[in-house]
Amino acid sequence: MDKANERASGLLGRLSGFMRSCLFKVLCMGPIPTHFSFIMDGNRRYAKKMDMGEGAGHRAGFFALVSVLKYCYEVGVKYISVYAFSIDNFKRRPEEVKTIMDLILEKTEGLLEEGSIADQYGVRVYFVGNLKLLSEQVRIAAEKVMEATAHNTRCVLLICIAYTSCDEIVNSVRECCKDKMEEIEDEEGDDLVDIEKHMYMGVAPDPDILLRSSGEKRLSNYQLWQTTHCTLYSPTALWPEISLLHVVWGILKFQRSYAYFEKKKKKML
């Protein structure tokens, strides 16, 4: 009975994989976003809705994240960024912050293992944000993962942690001024290129589409600088409920607005 169930679920898995790849072949007839960004909102509300314990919502959210990463890499998105932890989230109850940090540490160390998503898809991982605000354990784990995946070139994953746009802008201004101090004979001021070069998100192109789950219509201090020409999409599903359908709909929305943004970008050049 168990073997039959296993065979049936294996068959279903292969069938759904085949249908997904057919769907992606159709989608790829249009432009695919180079960079897809996500705000993973709604983990706590999901835990409350499903009557789960503290931290269980975030664990469920992690599984949704892995699925979303797989779908995006399969369809050909090269850069994915996720808002894992905001500087504002440090204001939450200490027990909750500790639970989330423990989960981040566990999953970060998981990325170093063989067969991890980074391994499977050749993903280079960046941890982006004010990493000095993290505990030493989490920071060291993050640095290890960045070093271990530095040679991967197929796809890029940017995990925004201890991040806010305002902090990013302040850091960029500080770094620009540091550069200017070191070249004090250069009388010219900073320009936009200097500021953008020092942004935490400077390792990736600007996002083409940003999905915030839970239907919330604000960016909450996330990639405010980078989203000038980015389609904003807010499905009402909570983050652990985000599925292939939402990724596909996001890509279709991007395709509908592609011509408009290309025209805008050409005007700016």
Binding site: R174, K217, R218, L252, S257
Partner: protein
């Protein structure tokens, strides 16, 4: 050799037919989506009519005090329609919205700000208000006009100002990280003319839901709502957007 070429040619044709089939499917998907959006837009138009005629009673009472500062982002190509912009502002004035920022990326609205203020009965430019006016209950509509130059370029100017200030302190042993804080950058932005407050709500009148470069420093927790293009603006949709905003509850990350 001949048969190999024939097989290659045949598989090439199959590949081309396959691609054509996929292209047709893709076009069909987008056609169905466009039809869907058309139906949704028609329903929204009917709903807007019901709201503006007062038949949907729940939208009659707006808790407008919750909306302290409104921003309106308009696609620059549409911003030349000054009469439409003035109509929108008149609707907002009737609703009781007193403080707002009008933004378009290329600064078209900035060029016509004098004529827009003149066409409204009771409006002033935001920069004409002093500290006292800002603290008191607003008597007239105060309009701020912004463009891309107040966004990223504003931050560049603020960075240069901060650097000049730092050099005046005379500390050349290295950069003191503590000097560069969010408060300092905020103050520098105000000093270079990027003074407006953070809007609570940002209404986007453009083909796509996107803030189009509205100053990043000011949109941390701003609700961003897409209203469609300016030419299809409706009073009912505007009322609904503001009503929905007044029902939002934010955690600010906590």
């Amino acid at each position: 050799m001949d048969s190999k070429q024939k097989v290659r040619g045949f598989s090439c044709s199959i590949h081309q037919i396959g691609n054509l089939g996929l292209q047709l499917l893709w076009s069909l998907v987008h056609l169905l989506i466009s039809i869907g959006y058309f139906v949704v837009a028609a329903a929204a138009a009917v709903e807007s009519y019901l709201i503006s005629s007062g038949l949907l009673t729940r939208y009659k009472v707006l808790n407008i005090s919750k909306l302290k500062y409104l921003a309106i982002v308009i696609e620059s190509d549409d911003a030349v329609q000054t009469s439409k912009v003035v109509q929108l502002l008149r609707w907002l004035e009737v609703m009781g919205v007193k403080r707002m920022c009008l933004y378009d990326a290329q600064g078209v609205l900035k060029k016509s700000k004098a004529s827009i203020v003149k066409m409204l009965d009771n409006a002033v430019l935001f920069e004409e208000l002093d500290e006292k006016d800002l603290l008191e209950k607003p008597k007239c509509m105060a309009l701020e006009f912004a463009s891309m130059s107040d966004g990223k370029e504003g931050v560049v100017k603020a960075a240069n100002l901060l650097f000049a200030k730092y050099m005046e302190l005379g500390n050349r042993d290295g950069l003191d990280d503590e000097f560069f804080t969010e408060a300092q950058v905020g103050e520098a932005l105000r000093a270079v003319g990027c003074k407006g407050p953070e809007p609570d709500l940002l209404l986007v009148y453009a083909p796509v839901r996107c803030h189009l470069g509205f100053p990043a420093w000011r949109t941390r927790y701003t609700e961003i709502v897409h209203m469609g293009s300016l030419k299809s603006m409706r009073l009912g949709s505007l009322t609904k957007a503001i009503y929905k905003f007044t029902r939002v509850r934010q955690n600010y990350g906590k």
